[in-house]
Symmetry: C2
Subunit: 183 residues, 2 copies
């Protein structure tokens, strides 16, 4: 149940936000951390309100509802941070394909890995560029946002290097071993 804490966490950090505000945050700052659709956000706001963890603090134009965390909500966020230990995701579509790459011709398998390496390289460069562009403030979201961005950069870099290594491994296996052949 992490969506709940993502929504709650943003409301606490921003000290009040509407569903619409949250959607934008999910699209931008949480994009590489936790995704959510519009209908999930509004649904979760309703549930959090029903459970007394947030409340409507103000209503604005166009039916805008500004939510703020209650004391119970802040307690719950803290409890989640301290007590609950997340288990890393155990599902990866890219790796799943690699697992079955033996079903393709070796050349196609290698092409898949080359392709993957290129994509990962682009994403790494994209995040690296972001790191250069953004001017970071002294607030919490800046500091911790910077940490997660660096994580993303390292993640893509790792994947790129791994894909290149894997491609080379396949090449090594595809080619007849030449070592013993000649001095």
């Amino acid at each position: 149940m992490s969506l709940r804490h993502a929504v709650l966490g943003l409301i606490v950090e921003l000290d009040g936000a509407s569903g619409y505000d949250l959607m934008k945050l999910f699209e931008i700052s949480l994009a590489n951390v936790w995704t959510a659709t519009q209908s999930q956000v509004y649904g979760e706001l309703a549930k959090l309100t029903a459970d007394g963890l947030i409340e409507v603090a103000a209503e604005g134009p166009r039916g805008r509802k500004e939510y703020r965390a209650t004391d119970a909500g802040r307690d719950e966020l803290r409890r989640w941070l301290v007590e609950e230990q997340p288990r890393p995701a155990r599902r990866d579509g890219v790796l799943l394909k690699v697992f079955f790459l033996g079903q393709l011709e070796p050349e196609r398998a290698r092409a898949y890995l080359r392709d993957s390496a290129a994509t990962m390289g682009e994403r790494r460069d994209g995040l690296a560029a972001l790191q250069q562009e953004v001017t970071w403030g002294d607030d919490n979201l800046s500091l911790y946002g910077r940490l997660t961005l660096e994580y993303g950069r390292r993640f893509f870099a790792m994947r790129k290097e791994w894909a290149e290594w894997a491609e080379a491994e396949l090449a090594r296996h595809a080619a007849p071993p030449e070592d013993a052949d000649r001095a």
Copy 2:
């Protein structure tokens, strides 16, 4: 819909398997790639059969059903491998917590990262030990299984190093800057 292709892929590679066989494979060889519960496996076998991608090739003791891929099934696996491009997961519970770590006292936040680094180090070492122990064959699952295992090792290594870096960053911010103080 990747579970479908995970099940189908295993049946193709093994050239026949029961639901029970598949469960064990999900627990062991696919553990770091794609997880599935027992009820998912049996449910998916029923759907794949209904769609004509696999069929019951033999029945054994205790109601055991050995499934084998049909031609349509092999075609579908290939199509999935070649045509469909997976998008990397965009959800990570560990990172989500880091994003909100500003809600804790700095010392607690740093403890969380130190803890995380230790856990990741253990998991990295566990996979490294596995790599040493296992004697690899020349078959496809060995070759490609070795690639995904190495991915896992690099993944945990990256996370460990990142957590250590992040912890140091927090320390840097928590401590008053001493640089300008003295020569």
